[in-house]
Amino acid sequence: MARVFSKKRIIFWALVALSFVLLPMVFDGGFSLSMLSQMGIAIIFVLSYNMLLGQTGLLSFGHAVYFGLGAFVTAHIVNFIDQGAFWFPITFVPIVGGITGLLFALVLGFVTTRRAGTPFAMISLGIAEMVAASALMFTTFFGGEGGIVTNRTAGGVVAGISYGPQIQVFYLIAGWCLISMMGMYAITRTPLGRLANAVRDNPERVKFIGYNPVRVRWLMMTLSGFFAGVAGALATVNYEIITAEALGLMASGNVVLMAFIGGINHFWGPIIGAVLVTLLQSALSTYTQAWLLYFGLFFLIIILYSPGGIANILAVHAPVIKARLFKSLASSYLIIFLASAPLIVGTIAVIEILYRGGAILGMSALVSWSSSLVLIVVGLVVFRFAQRRVKSVWASLDLELRKRGFV
């Protein structure tokens, strides 16, 4: 272990493990437990995606393929176990999913990773399309519209664990999430991980230090496929049903959004994205059916104002806080926060009026229209003002930080 992780890291991981143990005790109740389970799966999936995007510079639009195929193969294996064809502990079926993802990534990646950049993105999209189409054609394997239904208690009771109660499934997911996080983090620290960064930055130059960039991409893709498959297998166990949607373009798009919202340039960024997006999706969808629209807006704002995602917002503030200079920003941020309130309320009002198809004409409509528009305009004006202030404060802060050697 010491070779792979330093002492400091081991302590760090122990703390992460502890927080995983404690989380369901703090957020108990069925809803939060299923949400936490969903987050764990999303974290593994998005981290595996960022091995490609953030670390190797490969923008894939078809990563759900490996998640989905891992999930389907796992579903069939679990059903075989259920029928008594053979026995295999459910605790370790994520390995089945992982190996499935790895093998498909090995084969498909051989084709896709010959190119990088836009050609890679397009090829990945093409393959995703192809696999999604196959899923609808080969109904024996993919189960058609209804998908494949499984029984997560198929393995029987082992050491008192049946995987009937959700809490046991959560701990299964948490355990694999921890292992996957550690694994993927460790990979960034290896020669291969570092070469992936080099390939991301400048594939041409990599050849002149003795490496084949195509080989590096292919290896990273294969490893990434493994972890995507692990996530897929856990999804099978968690939901006990898997449909073709799991490997479709929507699912592939979703992981891109999570990664970008969280921030692809930091290892931890995508985790923030996974947690936040899962939270938004389940929380918003219980309140309004227009949640996809809000989610889209949220994504747009992040990309516009912080292309490096939320992780980047945190990262740029770290030196400010270390230098004890955050005070100078606080007032401007407060104004932005206050300005956001009318802006958000106004926008929500407009969306909901339109969405619910309420009175669009007439006296009461006029009142609600004009009041929400006033809110938006007022919010925008204050926002603009605060934005300009933040910019000038940042400019002087930057100078100060440089002078003091914090950046």
Binding site: D201, F208, I209, G210
Partner: protein, 253 residues
């Protein structure tokens, strides 16, 4: 000079479409020598480097490295055979730290290939080589900085650092001092002579001061042909060279 030949070019030709850029270059570079290639803009110097290092395929001819045929091999295979090059236009890994740039460049030659089962920071040979190189190129206090944030002269030094980090014994430098001030150029010359002791150096250089300082021999490339090869004093007094090239720069030198 009856030394071993490190790099042998025989009748090397290259055309892009119908334009022929390198027209039959034959050249022997001896082990341990410092050889400069000079010539006017567009003569094909960088193209020649691209052919030797495997970036472009040859249209005709043959290239041998230490007796081994490397004609049309992939760049990575040529590099593994012990030839390393730098680029005229800085070609580094901008979003990686300076230290990481160097470290990645040491890996293959130290036997770590696509290794997945070692933590890079615990590999002693890699750390020692990287530390040594980064000190050598004078960026010891810049290790943590992103390579893309270095000054131009620092990036040029890093470019050389990446090139020599693999420990190749044949080094190709394409205009290492291009765009540098006088002082920076002097520092670069010192760096180059330091890092290429015991090595074979082939360099393209526009600065005649640098060339006459560093080079044991000089070849003059004009319109894709070598019109003269010889010691600095031979080249200075060569009438062909004066007519074709140096004549225009005599006043400068």
């Amino acid at each position: 000079m009856n030394q071993n030949v490190s790099l042998r070019l025989s009748e090397v030709r290259k055309s892009f479409g119908s334009t022929s850029i390198i027209n039959g270059v034959s050249l022997d570079i001896f082990e341990g020598e410092r050889h400069a290639i000079i010539g006017p803009n567009g003569a094909g110097k960088s193209t020649l480097f691209n052919l030797i290092s495997g970036r472009y395929g040859l249209s005709a001819g043959r290239i041998e490295l230490k007796g081994q045929d490397i004609t049309n091999l992939d760049p990575q295979n040529i590099n593994r055979s012990g030839l390393s090059r730098s680029f005229q236009i800085t070609n580094i890994f901008p979003k990686m730290s300076v230290y990481e740039n160097i470290r990645c460049a040491t890996l293959w030659s130290l036997g770590y290939r696509y290794s997945l089962f070692r933590r890079i920071s615990t590999i002693r040979s890699v750390r020692e080589r990287a530390d040594e190189i980064i000190e050598l190129i004078g960026l010891g206090d810049r290790g943590e900085k992103l390579a893309g944030e270095l000054t131009y002269a620092e990036q040029r030094a890093l470019e050389i650092g990446i090139t020599i980090a693999s420990g190749s014994d044949v080094i190709l430098l394409d205009e290492p001092t291009a765009g540098m001030s006088r002082a920076e150029t002097n520092a670069a010359v010192e760096l180059i002579s330091k890092v290429t002791t015991q090595k074979t150096l082939l360099m393209v250089e526009h600065d005649m001061g640098v060339v006459f300082d560093l080079a044991d021999r000089i070849s003059v490339l004009v319109y894709g042909e070598i019109i003269a090869t010889g010691s600095p004093s031979e080249i200075r007094s060569n009438q062909l060279v004066k007519d074709a090239y140096l004549g225009t720069q005599e006043g400068v030198h």
